[in-house]
């Protein structure tokens, strides 16, 4: 019995996949490596291998904060990978925006870890350790500001990439819908980050749950889904007309 020849492989079914650069460019490989490196910087205990079982236990308690920071960085990587699969090019503006994204993510790594480990400490009533002590309201406001500005700036890069895609290529309805949906998600994300920064600026001095409000505001990211659907439908209608 001989080996049967395989049936032809499936042709890309996703219309948006067409027109992608076939192989990852040098730029994409660079972005991938930088994001991967950013993740390893987050690793539960960067400086030394745990030297005792207590160290190990403490290090493992850092896993929840690591998981959340990992998710955020992976999400930005995914946004970039998804964009470049659909609209990838090696234009100068694309290169610049991607490099700015890498620059921002490497700055953003440690604030991210601080925010999430502080949040985990608060939520667990102190059982999960925090890497950084946040003593005063000023410290807290600063952390929220850094986080919110970093978040908004990175989303601005993603929005910029979709903006470049919108101005090049044939405006088919599906392409217009995809770009509009992603621009809407980016707009919601940037607005959320900026809202958090603004709220952090007007927090009352006495300790209360209100101090968590700039963090809770990120729940507004849930609006991104309906917003992207509305934007996609509108854009498809305009492009078809």
């Amino acid at each position: 019995m001989s080996v049967p020849t395989a049936p032809p492989n499936t042709v890309p079914t996703d219309p948006a996949a067409r027109g992608r650069v076939a192989q990852p460019s040098r730029l994409e490989a660079f972005v991938d490596a930088a994001f991967a490196f950013a993740l390893t910087l987050l690793v539960i205990s960067i400086d030394t291998i745990p030297e005792s079982i207590d160290d190990l236990t403490a290090a493992l308690k850092g896993v929840p904060a690591f998981a959340l920071s990992f998710a955020v960085i992976a999400m930005f990587w995914y946004q970039h990978a998804r964009w470049s699969r659909r609209y990838g090019s090696d234009r100068l503006a694309v290169t610049l925006l991607s490099l700015v994204l890498v620059f921002l993510v490497l700055i953003y790594v440690y604030p991210l870890k601080i925010v999430f480990s502080a949040a985990m400490t608060t939520l667990s009533g102190g059982w999960l350790p925090s890497t950084t002590r946040i003593d005063s309201l000023d410290d807290l406001v600063l952390v929220y500001r850094i986080y919110g500005l970093g978040w908004s700036a990175m989303w601005l890069c993603i929005v910029g990439l979709y903006g470049i895609a919108a101005r090049s290529g044939a405006p088919t309805p599906e392409r217009a819908a995809d770009i509009a949906a992603n621009l809407a998600v980016g707009a919601v994300a940037i607005a959320t980050g900026l809202a958090s920064v603004l709220i952090a600026g007007v927090l009352p001095a006495e300790r209360s749950w209100v101090h968590g409000l700039p963090g809770i505001v990120y729940v507004a990211m849930n609006l991104a889904w309906p917003a992207s659907h509305v934007a996609a439908r509108r854009a498809a209608r305009t492009a078809a007309a």
Binding site: V3, T10, D14, A33, T40, L56, W77
Partner: protein, 251 residues
């Protein structure tokens, strides 16, 4: 979205392991996984501390090589597993990306615990000649160490297994032929053995110490993993049998 990266049947070449080449090009997620694994391996070295500043420090650093080699091999095993999987199926859909990211996440969590476990193992085997930076003083310390290793190894094995399960679910859309379907089932089993052994190890850990009066029996939850070597001897034989059953591989 299922995207196959080979140029159709004409371009498909059969690899010596029986699979057609589907993932010749490197996708973004593969580049990402490669970079993360490479950094993970680097972290194990550089954090040994700094460049040795005396001959004694150098000797001490060299004695860490066995444990470094073992951790390196284990990480490389999972990287190779992911690379093989990518080449075989050429998948780049969301579920594949999610599972790949999960694998990276687990590697980055467990890189240090793995290193600790191997330090302890080699220190134990060599009766302390090879150094371990920490000491296991109580039974609960030992329990925790075994449990962490079993969780680390088992969860990475589980994710690798799930990658194959995912490919199996998409067998029609990928266009796997009869030989490749048999091999995919075989690969699923091969990876599923790792979480299975980890579960046995976890169960043994809960019952420590096993045999009162026999001191080495406390090492049993770790030693059980040597049984995997036996499985790894049997598996390639089965692989060759599947290949033989389907006849010679067409060039």
């Amino acid at each position: 979205m299922i995207r196959s990266r080979s140029g159709g049947a004409a371009a498909a070449v059969r690899h010596e392991d029986g699979f057609l080449q589907r993932g010749a090009e490197v996708t973004r997620i593969e580049a990402f996984v490669d970079a993360a694994f490479a950094f993970a391996i680097t972290l194990m070295v550089i954090s040994i501390d700094e460049i040795p500043d005396s001959i004694d420090a150098l000797k001490l650093a060299l004695k860490a090589i066995p444990s470094y080699a073992a951790s390196f091999l284990l990480i490389a095993l999972f990287w190779r597993g992911h690379a093989d999987w990518s080449r075989r199926y050429g998948l780049d859909d969301r579920q594949s990306q999610r599972l790949s990211l999960l694998l990276v996440f687990l590697v980055l969590i467990f890189i240090y615990p793995l290193r600790m476990v191997f330090d302890a193992l080699f220190s134990w085997i060599s009766s302390g000649w090879l150094p371990a930076k920490f000491s296991l003083s109580t039974l609960s310390d030992l329990r925790l160490m075994f449990a962490v290793f079993a969780l680390a190894f088992g969860s990475m094995g589980l994710v690798s297994c799930l990658l194959y399960v995912h490919a199996w679910r998409l067998r029609e859309r990928i266009g796997l032929d009869a030989l490749e379907r048999d091999l995919t089932r075989h690969a699923m089993l091969r990876w599923a053995v790792i979480p299975l052994f980890s579960l046995i190890s976890l169960a043994l850990t809960a019952w420590l110490p096993m045999i009162p009066g026999v001191p080495w029996s406390v090492a049993l939850p770790g030693c059980i993993f040597f049984g995997l070597h036996l499985v790894q001897l049997v598996m390639p034989i089965q692989h060759r049998r599947i290949l033989a059953r389907h006849g010679p591989i067409a060039p």
